[in-house]
């Protein structure tokens, strides 16, 4: 495989590329290029990119002028090139992460190194939740504490006419949403009205 450096403005993105690149994906490629440089060549059919469209887009937005490329054999047909473009994406798409190993590796990285991998702290937290060790119940207790009185409160749902709803809101505004005495007062008034 021969690798050459070409000017970015001499190559074009694949107009038939079936793989889309979200802004997060492009940002991730940019982070990777900035941290590690380009470590794999882009693949060209003529002057058209058939593998590495995201890399080219990211390199352009980083202000690069050149990029390393390799070309498919000259006897390839357009159909072969298109098939390769799909295969290049599909083969990596079918790979799976080993969550346990991924968590172990990422956990050793500092914030900058983590960012350069395309994973972020939210991803790491999710991995920890699914693949990490069981939490210690006493530590969990330190975080969330004992059940509170409010935990036993029941939810009341009721559909009421607009004017009743307005009066209810006025009542809450004047007493505060957590003032139970207001709610009890309303219930008492309603109950007396019903009994009398």
């Amino acid at each position: 495989m021969k690798i050459e450096n070409v000017a970015l403005d001499t190559i074009e993105l694949d107009p038939d590329n079936a793989r889309t690149h979200s802004s997060r994906n492009l940002e991730t490629i940019k982070e990777s290029l900035a941290a590690f440089g380009q470590r794999k060549p882009v693949v060209l059919f003529g002057n058209t990119v058939i593998a590495g469209n995201g890399t080219v887009e990211a390199a352009r937005s980083l202000g690069w002028s050149k990029i390393a490329v390799t070309r498919v054999p000259p006897d390839w047909t357009l159909e072969q090139a298109k098939a390769y473009a799909i295969a290049d994406n599909r083969t990596s798409e079918l790979a799976e992460w080993d969550g346990n190993q991924l968590l172990k590796t990422l956990s050793d990285f500092d914030a900058d190194a983590l960012m350069s991998t395309g994973f972020n702290q939210e991803d790491l937290d999710a991995l920890m939740k699914v693949w990490g060790p069981a939490p210690d119940l006493d530590e969990l207790y330190d975080d969330i504490g004992d059940p509170t009185e409010e935990d036993d409160w029941q939810v009341i749902r009721a559909r009421v006419p607009e004017d009743v709803y307005q009066r209810w809101n006025e009542c809450l505004k004047s007493t505060g949403e957590k003032d139970l005495s207001a709610i009890i007062m309303v219930i008492d008034v309603a109950h007396r009205a019903l009994v009398l």
Partner: protein
């Protein structure tokens, strides 16, 4: 095709399955636990006959078709719940008791001292909206058990919130969200990468917004499950069961617990997350796949 791991853990209720041959489901690859279905009975104006329920439980547990059977509990009435537990045990069925949301941890003592090392925690369905409240109560029970009755294991009734499932040492949980596609018009799929449930409306459009999740983790195309109709229900069932199996895998990985002994009628590995559905044809469809 969605790859399910058999056996699939499932919960069957006496109220719905009283007259069914449960061995068909069992032989089809479902690992079954049983309860009375008292709440469903109540909402449909029926009552559970305790003696008939005990006979059903004995019939299907003695041959190992049901791994265990839950007691007939009475929400909000611990005394009636205890009475049912004692009467069922008196009829020869070692039923699993349930403590309801709000119960004090020391209430575990009675059952633990009675030789029970497996207890259900219930009344969680209504509190799912308030995961903090549920977490605090379940944690208070489990922490108490860890210090005073470390042999006790727990089943979480109707537990669908992911935080308590993955943070607390459950022996097993169950959820009827398995059937939410055909009952409520939305699927609830677990995303193992983000560790969150995603709710996807079966409106013919929303599934396409979750293409990566659906194809990568569930092995189907969004078009196959974008809408729910009679013909698609078996596939929706498989996808939803797979979703709960992802949760089960994480749960078992995090909490590899030793098995309880009380009220256990099957020697197989029973730790897990159980799908629930009152409609027989849905569970039968899963069982058919396991043959």
């Amino acid at each position: 095709m969605t790859q399910l791991r058999y056996p699939i853990n499932a919960l069957v209720s006496y109220f719905y399955f009283a007259k069914d041959d449960l061995s068909v489901l069992h032989q089809g690859g479902l690992r079954l636990i049983g309860d009375s279905g008292a709440y469903s009975a109540l909402t449909q104006g029926s009552k559970i006959d305790l003696k008939a329920f005990a006979e059903w439980g004995l019939k299907w547990s003695q041959n190992g078709t049901l791994c265990w059977v839950a007691a007939l509990d009475v929400i909000g009435d611990p005394r009636a719940t205890l009475k049912n537990y004692e009467r069922l045990r008196g009829m020869g069925l070692d039923v699993i008791p349930t403590l309801h949301h709000g119960t004090k941890p020391a209430d575990l003592d009675f059952y633990a001292n009675d030789g029970v090392d497996f207890i259900g925690l219930g009344g969680l369905v209504g509190t799912n909206a308030n995961a903090g409240s549920m977490m605090r109560w379940c944690l208070s029970l489990m922490r108490y058990a860890q210090h005073t009755h470390p042999q006790v294991r727990f089943h979480g009734w109707g537990l669908t919130a992911i935080e308590p499932i993955l943070n607390l040492p459950w022996w097993s949980v169950d959820s009827s969200s398995y059937g939410s596609a055909w009952r409520y018009g939305h699927m609830r799929l677990f995303n193992p990468r983000t560790a969150k449930f995603v709710s996807i409306r079966t409106d013919g459009k929303e599934a396409y917004h979750h293409h990566d999740l659906i194809t990568r983790y569930y092995g189907v195309n969004p078009s196959q499950i974008a809408v729910v109709d009679h013909d698609s229900i078996p596939l929706h069932g498989r996808v939803s069961a797979r979703s709960y199996q992802y949760v089960e895998e994480a749960m078992k990985r995090k909490f590899p617990l030793a098995s309880p002994t009380y009220g256990q009628f099957s020697a197989t590995d029973r730790q897990g997350a159980h799908v629930v559905d009152g409609a027989k044809r849905h569970l039968k469809s899963l069982a058919t796949e396991g043959n």
